[in-house]
């Protein structure tokens, strides 16, 4: 067994420098690496390119890095749930690349899978297709999209073991397994960290080969963006 365990979040983010490209798993605030984001926001690291489906909210998630002006460019599919993001984007301080969600997911997967580019129908005929090669397959137009990789990928799982194997819960899986594959150094934070042998290999979602560092995260807040419930019938 190759042991991926590091002692804490400080050791987990060691080596992250200004000007790097970082990936962050999560959809909205669900399944985001809360511990790593908080720790990064305490560092004097700037001019980052961040790849994440969303950009957090004010004072939570990637909003923490935005607030401290650590981010130079965001690559996302849907943003702007926070006022500071909007201010920076409209003033031109923050560069934002918006790409279709499925394309974003596949570009990460491709980056981790050694596939440099692929054709997708998503975005054909729209401004997303500007400057991209178009090819017709089976009578349908597709555009060429290239793979994404990163210096570090930060992911969050429910359970993990010291070998770096990960199991996700609910819809908190989202982009995490794909970004785990695409990071040169992938850091996984987990709610429960088990010794190797304690996870059933049949149930592993992300095999440990994609994870370089793993640690047990603390004090998960797991903020809910849209609390929707129904009343119990009498």
């Amino acid at each position: 067994m190759i042991n991926k365990k590091v002692k804490d979040v400080a050791e987990a983010i060691d080596g992250v420098k200004s000007n790097m490209t970082l990936m962050f798993g999560g959809f909205g605030l669900s399944g985001i690496p809360e511990n790593c984001i908080k720790e990064l926001s305490k560092k004097e690291i700037f001019n980052l390119t961040c790849i994440s489906n969303n950009a957090g909210v004010d004072n939570f998630g990637l909003g923490l890095l935005l607030k401290k002006r650590q981010v130079d460019r965001m690559i996302s599919s849907y943003v702007g749930e926070n006022a500071e993001f909007e201010r920076q984007m409209l003033s031109g301080e923050l560069k934002v690349d918006l790409i279709p969600q499925g394309t974003l997911a596949e570009r990460c997967r491709a980056g981790g899978a050694g596939i440099p580019a692929f054709f997708t129908p998503a975005g054909f005929g729209t401004e997303v297709a500007f400057g991209k090669e178009v090819r017709i397959f089976d009578g349908k137009a597709h555009i060429l999209e290239t793979a994404l990789t990163s210096d570090f990928a930060f992911v969050k799982a429910w359970k993990g073991d010291e070998a770096g194997n990960l199991i996700f819960k609910g819809s908190a899986r989202n982009f995490n397994p794909l970004m785990a594959m695409a990071g040169k150094i992938t850091v996984a934070e987990v709610e429960e960290l088990l010794p190797a042998g304690e996870l059933d290999p049949n149930h592993v979602h992300t095999p440990g080969i994609f994870v370089q560092r793993i640690f047990k995260g603390e004090l998960y807040e797991k903020r809910i963006e849209q609390l929707t419930t129904r009343k119990r019938e009498e």
């Binding site: 605030l29 669900s30 129908p121 998503a122 005929g125 819960k169 819809s171 419930t229 129904r230």
Partner: protein, 218 residues
């Protein structure tokens, strides 16, 4: 009487086919799940990684690790499955999800749709909309017939940046059910009490009317 949002959703629910997988967008489309006709089994897909999505949880049973694409807390039904975003969009791009219902700012008579960007306003992004409209076999738009200024949202050509080309198959508005054909918008049904003249006036794009236009049955 023009339809309210719930009635639009109820009319769209009549389009659901037995044993199909369906993706519902945010807004009116979400309401479609409340009106599934008897005897029709459908499974709802949410592009953040859920198949077999159920209703909102009971108060106190919400789980931050279980949300839909609108970031609302949800539940899963028996037979549900959970997966990553690449698998989710494989279901969408691979045409395994058969029907997409979504909102729009504009639809053109050739089926182009615009629903993600208003120039000079804050742009939040397309999310999964471009992937959804590029691939689904059947795409139904749920929207109001005119915008807040009273301008038609059914046009000969979209004025806003488009989300997808020639993809919308049907439109259900507060006034009418319209099919997108090779020759343009075809008026299929009108809302109860709404005249054909009213619909013609509210539609900027080429509208095809063949004989009597029946009222919707809501």
């Amino acid at each position: 009487m023009s339809l309210d949002k719930n009635q639009i959703a109820k009319r769209i629910a009549q389009e659901l086919k037995h044993n199909t997988y369906v993706n519902l967008g945010i807004g009116i489309p979400t309401l479609v799940a409340n009106y599934i006709p008897n005897g029709i089994d459908v499974e709802f897909q949410s592009e953040n990684g859920v198949l077999g999505m159920g209703p909102f949880p009971f108060e106190g049973e919400e789980d931050p690790d279980l949300i839909n694409a609108g970031k609302q807390t949800i539940t899963t039904l028996a037979g549900a499955a959970l997966f990553d975003s690449a698998t989710s969009f494989a279901m969408i791009r691979g045409r395994h999800v058969e029907l997409t219902v979504l909102g729009a700012m504009e639809v053109a008579s050739n089926g182009d749709i615009a629903n993600w960007k208003i120039p000079k306003k804050m742009v939040k992004g397309m999310g999964g909309a471009m992937d959804l409209v590029a691939s689904a076999e059947n795409i139904i738009v749920a929207m109001m017939h005119t915008n807040k200024k009273g301008k038609s949202k059914l046009l000969n050509k979209c004025t806003l940046p488009i989300t997808g080309v020639s993809c919308v198959k049907k439109i259900v508005t507060n006034l009418a059910v319209i099919e997108v054909t090779k020759k343009g918008f075809k008026l299929l049904e009108r809302a109860p009490g709404v005249s054909v003249d009213h619909i013609i006036k509210a539609t900027e794009g080429n509208l095809i009317i063949n004989g009597e236009v029946p009222e919707m049955k809501i």
